[in-house]
Amino acid sequence: MNKKRTTDYTGVISREDIVYQVIVNVLLILLSLAAILPFLLILSSSLTDDYVLTRFGYNFFPRAFSAYAYEFVFSRNGAYVLHSAWLTLLVTIIGTSLSLLIAPLLAYPLSRRDFKYARFFTFLVFFTMLFNGGIVPSYIMWSQVFHVKNTIWALIFPGMLFNGFFIILYKNYFATNIHPSLIEAARIDGAGEWQIYFRIVLPLSLPILATIGLMVGLGYWNNWTNGLYYITDQKLFTLQQLLKNIIENIRALADIAGGSFPVSEIPSNSVRMAMAVIGIVPIMILYPFFQNAFIAGIAIGGVKE
């Protein structure tokens, strides 16, 4: 986003500029705090003794430090939590790879001016952005015709692979960044269409692949509705679905351990927050590495709000 500045500070810095800087920075510092503090609340609460939490509630500062919640989760449910994190990662990787394989392949011909069906198929893609059948018909189709219930495919296919908007974004990128003369030159050298696509078009399109790939990957990692609709088998709970069940009822933790311990034994207040931390940490660790692609994705409108 650091392209051009609209404000020019090369001249003399006036009093007015200084006042503006102070106002703007104070505002943004406050907003940044508003964005970060809730996460700190979760973190510090997860590290507070459960009895103290029950008595005094959640707080930004641990009154009595204790890592018992994590010990509890990892000793009783560790294998299960890791299993569901692994499953989420697997679904994310498979889904994103499939998406990156199939979606640009659909978009590329649409970007070619010499492809005579381009207009018709672009409309077909575009129409899916305007109108949809809603959740009831798709739920019935995926569960009764394709029988995806309680299979890993339920987490990968329904509504997740790509949407019409991504195709349009790919198409526009190809149309503006891959010059027709490049394709023509490759053809004269004897390259076929598939060769042109994989050897020339794809390597030149890495920025858009990274941006949309990130959006799709984040979508898979954060997705919980497919689990809500299609998964009842505990072995196929993703991290988000597990987290959802636990916030609704702490009993879910006892259930997944086979009900081998009574619910009253769970230090529920701190364990809840510890689970939230487990859900947040992976994405926070990776954020610095993908932040540029993420911001670029928002700027082109690729992130759903």
Binding site: E16, T54, A103, P109, K116, G134
Partner: protein, 445 residues
């Protein structure tokens, strides 16, 4: 530049389709359906459906399934005709081959998917292996037809590249569109989807006679109006503020931080809201002390809570969009304003805002086009679907979900879903017309 390639001397793929077509016919002798009738299990082969005499002792009636079967058999015959035409005219022949093998395939898939309700007099009806063998031969014929179309130059590799993506769109987007007919039926699971009775607009009448329809429409619209206006306003302010920051490193830092909430799932947001408002333990609840009440049982706060949460999560998103739009403003305009002695405030009022007007208008209209849709997670999960809050947090999306999955009331659910789909579509089209008038470039289509 596309000319039909010379067909002579090219491999006549259509000849391979002949044995396959004959194999499809042979499949009619294999068992297509198995069913239980008077405590005995029977098999019916593929050709039995025309007469129906030996099915259930002749009690089989002409149903839509038989029409599908007839269409399938007719398509098989037409494939043979197409192969013969190919000998004289390969271009036309390949088109026909493609069309009819595709038609046959679709008919047979519908046939096999609906066997469960096919024979009313029998019990536990299901498809037998003959259907699947026949589907396989038809898939091969369809593939051959595509290959043949490529050989004669009707389609090229570009077409084949699109196939997997188009298949996904067909399944994921187009088939459910046709599934909207469910809203006009009274679904009875014992009869199945196809045989359930048509009831016209009864489901809609029922939906709109309840108070629910009014409540969910009102909630969806009001929340969305608040979200759109406040979201654009805060986004605009923060975008302007970000642009003013002198240090680039700081600008980057603020931007990255404010975007954090955009990154996490609504489930994590639920945890965060719970950490603040949870009964007895939430930070805000304990701070309020004796005055505190159970937030999850007090509806009056939730419009504000949900709006706040939505703004908190979406702030970075709108800010980044406005920032990138501000970066696109011509710098010369500011220089000219400065020469004229404009203060920063005047520059904002007379340069930045007028330049941003198209962005603001377009974003506003586009979001209005989606005003019938709501963030399911925000309204369902964040209030922890507490019953006491239902009136104030129920939107069309949560209503459809609950009717479908919790109370198994497909009729109401599909009616509400169809209402949303159709009104949503009309809104998008209308809004696009307005955008086109305001700002041609930003129109969707």
């Amino acid at each position: 530049m596309k000319k039909l390639a010379k067909t002579e001397g090219r491999f006549p793929a259509y000849l391979l389709a002949l044995p396959l077509a004959l194999a499809s016919f042979a499949c009619l002798l294999l068992p297509f359906v198995h069913y239980k009738y008077k405590a005995k299990v029977y098999q019916a082969n593929g050709s039995a459906f025309l007469m129906g005499r030996d099915i259930c002792g002749g009690t089989f009636r002409l149903t839509p399934h038989v029409l599908v079967w007839i269409a399938f058999a007719a398509a098989l015959l037409c494939v043979l005709v197409a192969i013969f035409i190919s000998r004289k005219n390969r271009v036309l022949g390949s088109k026909l081959l493609c069309a009819f093998s595709g038609l046959g395939l679709v008919c047979l898939v519908i046939f096999s998917a609906s066997t469960g309700t096919m024979i009313p007099a029998a019990k536990s009806v299901g498809s037998s292996y003959g259907v699947y063998v026949c589907i396989l031969t038809l898939i091969l014929q369809f593939a051959l037809a595509l290959y043949e179309m490529r050989e004669v130059g009707l389609v090229n590799s570009l077409f084949f590249m699109m196939l997997p993506g188009l298949l996904y769109l067909l399944i994921n987007n187009y088939i459910p569109m046709f599934g909207l007919f469910i809203a006009f039926k009274k679904i009875d699971y014992t009869k199945g989807l196809w045989r359930s009775d048509w009831v016209g607009f009864d489901n809609f009448k029922y939906l709109f006679h309840t108070k629910d329809a009014w409540i969910i429409t009102r909630n969806t619209l009001l929340y969305n109006f608040a979200f759109i206006i406040l979201g654009l306003l805060t986004g605009l302010i923060v975008g302007l503020a970000l642009n003013e920051v002198f240090s680039r490193k700081l600008q980057k830092f603020y931007q990255t931080t404010i975007l954090l909430p955009q990154l996490i799932s609504i489930i994590i947001v639920t945890y965060i809201v719970f950490a603040f408002l949870g009964n007895d333990v939430g930070l805000l609840t304990t701070l309020l002390g004796d005055k505190a009440q159970n937030f999850y049982a007090t509806p009056k706060y939730w419009p504000f809570i949900l709006t706040f949460v939505h703004l908190w999560k979406g702030l970075g998103y709108n800010a980044v969009i406005f920032l990138s739009s501000i970066c696109g403003i011509d710098k010369n305009l500011y220089d000219a304003a400065k020469v004229d002695g404009a203060t920063k405030w005047q520059q904002l009022l007379h340069v930045t805002l007028p330049q941003l007007k198209p962005t603001i208008v377009t974003l506003f209209l586009l979001q209005c086009g989606r005003i019938f849709y709501s963030d399911f997670g925000l309204f369902y999960e964040v209030p922890l679907h507490a019953g006491a809050l239902a009136n104030i947090t129920e939107t069309i999306d949560t209503y459809v979900y609950k009717a479908l999955m919790v109370s198994s009331n497909i009729s109401t659910s599909s009616a509400a879903g169809a209402f949303q789909a159709v009104v949503g579509f009309l809104l998008v089209v209308t809004v696009n017309r307005i955008v086109k008038k305001v700002d041609e470039e930003n129109a969707l289509f």
